[in-house]
Symmetry: C2
Subunit: 358 residues, 2 copies
DNA sequence: CTGAAAGCGCTTACAG
DNA sequence: CTGAAAGCGCTTACAG
């Protein structure tokens, strides 16, 4: 081991700047700037010489300096919530991949509470760091977008919202949760179930409401009455699913099938069903929501409504970058788009009697 | 709706700068700077007047300009891998929370492959954005830290590594995976199981190796021979767990218990066990690893080795910030620390015959 | 094809 | 207690 190694990461190298390169090459910083930005008007010899020096000195332009002068940073802000859960992290993964391929860095923020005290301070933090746009990946509840009205929908940079239903004035990307609720319920009806209960997420969440609306409307269309006793509220966790299921069994004893608003809660239902020796799918059909990879390995494998949350993140980045770049091109007509991704039902053994190949 | 609203987020406001505030207050920018940085030497009246103007103009200092002049950004880089999985996202969640409480922003990067082509370009990207330090949250494999030697352990800023076992020269925080493997196996032995198989993660991963070492050493200590036929390799996914379990049943028919290197794979084992009508825990005891919340709702509920990945992220931030701040205080003696967090076993019905209260 | 000047929005010495 | 000057590392017009 040589001496340098012993020092470890103690040693803080000084930054190589455009001045060093210019001096070494005997040109102005201006010309170096042209080279690193791939401008056409540089003599080929000059360009090559400078490129060699850049490599030799291991020069990397400061994005910070560039951001200051250009008033943009090629960085997107991402405000998320509930990262420890599968859904939000899959979406974030889509965001990171797509941002990378579009050449943007990501400044990440996680809210501790869905009901945010002061969203504007979060946004100000991002603005102070000169982000070019923001992805607001916080699922809508009945109150957590009120601040939009208060600030009169005015932002100094584009903000794209994920998983929201209201506020058509602003650009957003969401899954068609209503459609998902319909698909789940239609499938159960088609399998011959009649008394179909529902376990929802927190009723305050827009996603919960829409999934439930899909369930209710589908039953109405089939002339099946829906009462308060036919559903119970969970919190998305498996434990809450188990709890809600117990309540439902009391309130709705004739229930022969159940649509559960996410796969985690469905897992809790399965556990309680096993405990009571309920046969699935004969005595109880179960449909989940999300389509997490694990759901194929529940026992029995779970029929579920698949939503592509990774793609949700990808599309969010695409949309936001489009808006940013349109704006920079000086396009004044900016019409907010609302995008809806369609979920798909994945049929497995928790709702069909015959064994299908798995 | 008024006119302003119709314009939506089209309108790009100009940034309010320190000059505007200074001009409005009739002082120099210097004095405003003192106020926003809470320096003591400002006349109380001046301070108050400036603060009012700051509020009135909605002024927020540019972190970018500050970063340029101070050569630091109060931003940490985070390079992660496999965000769509539960573990890494829980760790990331710990990182976001702790970074926020320490006053640091986060620049997020996700590798597409664990075996990285060019880690240095990832780091250069972060350096170009003036991050103060980096958390390298990419699980170690036998080859993906080779670049450390190539660059001779020299970084221009501190880098803290997560989930690594080699390279004691660099600061790191990891879970004691070896201990976890021991705990799992000791528990199975204590329950009276004798023929204990193992499903590992990809053998190339340091975490897999250590968990397996714990299993093997514990059996050796108990004078139980261990052969190649007693373990199989998975990829962490439930599907791979199911596959590996089928192989093991062939190779090791007398197996009466199994230690599975994560909960997802254990779920796959449970599924296959149900299919074959194996009684758990009577005919087969099962222990997982991770302690994801869902594991309490598997059927039967899964005994598992709990690791606190959220805390792992928190501690990573604490350590890195300590290193950064020591360095800024000019402390030259920086001795890299390796921290190991201890896992705990959580006993549930998949390994104990008597029903314990759940 | 190349360079001198100005400036992005701050902070850091240095005077007074 | 306050301000004039210089500068962080770049890019943007503007000349030539």
């Amino acid at each position: 081991m040589e001496q340098r190694r012993m020092e470890g990461s103690l040693h803080r190298k000084k930054r190589v700047t455009i001045k060093h390169v210019a001096h070494e090459a005997g040109v102005s910083t201006q010309t170096v700037s042209r080279v690193i930005n791939n401008r056409p008007d540089v003599a080929p010899e000059t360009r090559q010489r400078i490129n060699e020096i850049i490599k030799k000195l291991d020069y990397h332009p400061s994005v910070v300096a560039r951001s200051l002068i250009q008033q943009r940073s090629y960085t997107l802000g991402v405000t998320t919530y509930g990262l420890q859960h599968v859904g939000p992290s899959r979406t974030l993964s889509g965001i990171t991949h797509q941002a990378e391929s579009k050449g943007y860095a990501l400044l990440l923020n996680e809210l501790v509470e869905n009901e945010i005290g002061n969203p504007q301070s979060v946004i100000q933090d991002l603005l102070a760091r000169q982000v070019d746009g923001i992805i607001w990946a916080v699922p809508e509840t009945s109150t957590n977008l009120k601040w939009l009205e208060e600030i009169n929908y005015e932002f100094s940079i584009p903000i794209l919202f994920l998983t929201i239903g209201s506020h058509p004035e602003i650009p957003s990307v969401s899954i068609n949760n209503y459609k998902g609720g319909c698909l789940a319920t239609q499938h159960l009806l088609a399998q011959g179930y009649h008394s179909i209960g529902h376990i929802s997420g927190p009723y305050d969440w827009w996603e919960s409401q829409r999934r439930m609306d899909g369930w209710r409307d589908t039953l109405h269309k089939a002339n099946i009455p829906v009462s308060k006793n036919h559903w119970a509220e969970g919190t998305w966790s498996s434990a809450s699913g188990e709890r809600a299921f117990k309540q439902l069994l009391e309130k709705y004893p004739e229930m022969d099938a159940i649509f559960v608003a996410n796969d985690q809660m469905a897992l809790g239902v399965l556990k309680e069903a096993h405990k009571r020796n309920l046969r699935i799918p004969e005595e109880l059909g179960i449909v989940g929501f999300d389509g997490i990879p694990e759901s194929a390995h529940f026992w029995p494998p779970l029929t579920t409504v698949y939503q592509d949350q990774h793609q949700l993140g990808c599309i969010a980045v695409d949309e936001l970058v489009n808006i940013i770049e349109d704006q920079n091109r000086g396009m004044t007509k900016y019409s907010p788009k609302r995008l809806l991704l369609e979920p798909e039902i994945v049929v497995r053994a928790s709702t069909i009697q015959e064994n299908i190949p798995q």
